[in-house]
Amino acid sequence: MASGDTLLVFPAWSGVPTSSNGATFDTRNNHPCADFDDTTNESLVFSGVMPQQYGGGGVTVYLHYAMTSATSGDIDWDAAFERIGDQQQDVDSDSFASSNSVDNTTVPGTSGNVDIASIAFTDGADMDSVASGEEFRIKVTRDATSDTASGDAELRHVEIRES
């Protein structure tokens, strides 16, 4: 896969809210999305299999989001990978790698405008050593306790590209 190529795209409603402090599903003008609070760090987890096309160059995660009402302030997003792999993870427990972040992104001046924030991961431990052909999970979290934009953030899609 060439740098910049799309590996996977997850609609927000393909995610599973975490058991505690999970994002909640909503619609906006008939667009499904997932709402993340502005006071509590909430998360959404997506499951997939890393395509065979992944060339081992690391990945960049693109978060497509809009703000429910905020037109000022900044937003912080975290993402973390968990390798399931071939007998690499007992799925009866969680084992996400440390998260990477994109912080202090100024939100769009129009609340209905969709912004795209990106988080880069180097190949290897940074993305929990997920390799091509391996099942994995990615957890997306809004770091609401650190950012300043008021109201919900509405996640719409998550795109993973080869870096």
């Binding site: 590996l7 996977l8 795209v9 409603w13 599973v16 909640t24 619609t27 096309q53």
Partner: protein
């Protein structure tokens, strides 16, 4: 798809198994009543082996026979113990509405209409001995209560062994399938058609297929349903194939042969 039944005697969907043994429990469904003057029995979980007065049950009801046409949530745990929680808003005849009841604990009960109109009560009630699940009837050892004689429709009947929170109930009312909402706690989901097929009354969570004593009819369901989606696979950059004879077509969730 949805199911339509006349609420007269005998017409219902039911099964002699209860999805939960007690609190916490959430019940939800979409319903469309042909009038706002009758009582309609929506999802009900009860002990069918007890006589009426001493019954144990959780019952979600459309109350067209009450001023304001609210949705009611009744809980009884023995003789003389019935409690009633009412939504603050009412339903309209011949329109699809979402009804939901939540008992997060024995002392936390709530009922919603269309994701809002929340009514609450903290009176302690905890029914036991539950062994029956139905839509359209409250059944006892000595009698059964069906409700008004007008037709009503229902779809996407679901039960969780947990108390959903306000945002989750709102998401259901916004059109998200129960499969999207706290799936680890979803113990019963009867779509009653849709992508799962006309005339299919099974519980896709594996409780049991609902039987249809009396008369039920498959009808259209006029609301959007947002099911869980799968990921899409990227196929590469503009510098990559497809070549003129590339045989593959990108499909949602995977590759398919063109």
């Amino acid at each position: 798809m949805a199911v339509e039944t006349n609420a007269a005697a005998g017409n219902r969907l039911d099964v002699d198994v209860a999805p939960v043994s007690g609190v916490p429990v959430t019940m939800a469904c979409w319903f469309n009543a042909s009038d706002a003057t009758s009582l309609y029995r929506l999802p009900i979980i009860n002990d069918k082996d007890l006589a009426t007065a001493s019954g144990h049950w959780f019952a979600l009801l459309g109350r067209g026979d009450v001023v304001g046409d609210p949705v009611h949530y009744h809980i009884q745990a023995g003789v003389g113990s019935i409690i009633e929680i009412s939504t603050t808003t009412g339903y309209t005849a011949n329109m699809w509405h979402h009804a939901c009841s939540v008992s997060a604990s024995a002392t936390s009960h709530a009922v919603y209409l269309d994701g809002g109109g929340k009514g609450t009560l903290t009176t302690s009630r905890s029914p036991t001995g539950l062994d029956y699940f139905a839509v359209g009837v409250l059944r006892y050892s000595t009698s059964s209560y069906f409700g008004g004689s007008s037709t009503f429709r229902y779809a996407h009947v679901a039960v969780w062994n947990a108390g959903l929170v306000d945002d989750e109930v709102a998401a259901l009312a916004a059109g998200f399938s129960p499969l999207c909402i706290r799936p680890e706690s979803l113990v019963t989901y009867c779509p009653l058609g849709g992508r799962f097929g006309r005339g299919d009354y099974k519980d896709i969570m594996g409780l049991a297929s609902l039987s249809t004593p009396g008369s039920v009819t498959d009808v259209d369901f006029g609301q959007k349903v947002i099911y869980p989606a799968s990921s899409s696979l990227g196929l590469g950059s503009s510098a990559s194939p497809p070549a003129a004879d590339f045989p593959y077509t990108l499909l949602h969730g995977g590759l398919g042969i063109a």
